[in-house]
Amino acid sequence: MASYAATLLALSLLSLWTSPALGDANDAEDCCLSVTQHPIPGNLVRAFRYLLIRDGCRLPAVVFTTLKGRELCAPPGQPWVERIIKRLKRKSAKSKHHRN
């Protein structure tokens, strides 16, 4: 019985964070698990969006959609990432202007 109790105690020390969150916080959201450290060439990117902590992701990221439809994860705040975002914004503003 004593060894049994010891096992249970050891397991308890190993265990963390017991309450399941409401409506499952482990929502299994689409998220970036890591971000690239190497710059992606901007001319391959046709769209971007943010996936941040408030979206339920642990790692905040900028997702670049490439021309072939791949979705690559980049670190927000990096100069090369901001440059691509600025370019995409300018492009979309221009195309909107053309349409009008």
Binding site: L9, L16, A21, D24, D27, A28, L44, L51, L72
Partner: protein, 363 residues
């Protein structure tokens, strides 16, 4: 990188070749979890609604039986069983909200999101802590029946313990109360716990440690110690009730190990990942999500099964229930002045003359 010539290919139909060349080094891609999400949308609401139905019926019955018997809780165990039923009933009340939120998004606003999440977290912790109280009560009841046992405690002690447990549960529910929010993602509103980005790693670490120590290690340690001591005492005694008593201890411990430990272990792995900032591959991350979902369902089932394991196995509860059903709530019938008939006094937890073999089950 060795892709310098390719980088001059800029636009148009050849960009595909460029991408292939570039991705010779694997680039981190967004991890799509549509399959896990589809499973979760079916699994989570069905578990929530099943447990809610079981929990409302079972714990409602426990509370109704107690109220119908119009009797103040006589032993600490019965006082804590009542609080356990209350905690599980409150938890069961929040589950339909969780199921509706998972099915069609959260539409009740931010304040309700915080209130429901806080209630959920507080009642989950309270249930766990009351399980520990019950194990301690049972051990004390046995020890007191021994010749050299401690003296009976003051009757107010159990209520004081209950108040402390609820305060502790509220403390543990603080993150859920403060940081749950109703956020939008891909057109659907969700109610979930998101720590603010400004929160330092120290605060998160402290919160995690508090949850571990107060919300898990403490109740589990108390339970393990009490049931181990109890089992030892029971093994040393003789008598017809011994076998039955041991069987119930084994059932309680087994149910706890099967229902709660897998989830705690899954969470351990997940929290270790979080704190170590470890990254996993997409398939591994999906397996982890699935494991958390399934084991989380089991942990929730504990709240629906508590009445069966704790109250229904008690002799006194079954006698009260039989009487409640027979008399239709005690009011009609031949009893003088419409009062509930007194239960045949086979034994009583509060009586100092109780024998350990019966008193253990009599709550």
């Amino acid at each position: 990188m060795g892709t310098v010539p390719a980088e001059q290919v800029s636009w148009g139909p050849y960009s595909g070749d460029y991408e292939e060349a570039y991705s010779a080094e694997p680039l981190p891609e967004l991890c799509h979890k549509a399959d896990v999400q589809a499973f979760s949308r079916a699994f989570q609401p069905s578990v929530s609604l099943t447990v809610a139905a079981l929990g409302l019926a079972g714990n409602g019955l426990v509370l109704a039986t107690h109220l119908a018997a119009r009797r103040a809780a006589r032993s600490p165990t019965s006082a804590h069983l009542l609080q356990l039923a209350l905690a599980d009933l409150l938890l069961a009340l929040t589950l339909p909200f969780a199921a509706a939120g998972a099915l069609q998004g959260w539409s009740l606003g931010s304040v309700t999101c915080r209130a429901i999440s806080g209630l959920y977290s507080a009642s989950f912790h309270a249930g766990f802590l009351f399980l520990a109280c019950i194990s301690a009560d049972r051990y004390v009841a046995i020890a007191r029946a021994l010749p050299a046992g401690p003296r009976p405690s003051a009757p107010g002690r159990a209520h004081l313990v209950s108040v402390v447990v609820w305060l502790l549960s509220l403390l543990l529910a603080l993150p859920a109360l403060l940081f749950s929010q109703d956020g939008q993602r891909e057109g659907q509103r969700r109610c979930r716990l998101i720590f603010p980005e400004g929160l330092t790693q120290t605060v998160k670490g402290a919160s995690a440690v508090a949850q571990v120590v107060l919300g898990f290690a403490l109740p589990l340690g108390v339970m393990a110690a009490c049931y181990a001591l109890l089992g030892r005492t029971l093994l040393a005694t003789r008598g017809p009730e011994r076998r039955r008593a041991l069987r119930v201890v084994v059932a309680l411990v087994a149910a706890f190990v099967i229902l709660q430990l897998p989830y705690s272990l899954a969470l351990l792995l997940d929290t270790a990942d979080l704190l170590a900032a470890r990254e996993r591959s997409c398939p591994a991350s999906k397996r982890k999500d699935l494991a958390l979902l399934v084991t989380g369902g089991l942990a929730l089932a504990r709240c629906g099964l508590n009445p069966v394991l704790y109250a229904f196995l008690g002799l006194r509860f079954r006698q009260d229930l039989r009487r409640l059903l027979r008399s239709g709530g005690c009011s009609p019938g031949p009893h003088p002045r419409g009062r509930c008939p007194r239960r045949p006094r086979l034994s009583s937890c509060s009586a100092p003359t109780e024998t350990n073999s019966v008193s253990f089950w009599d709550h």
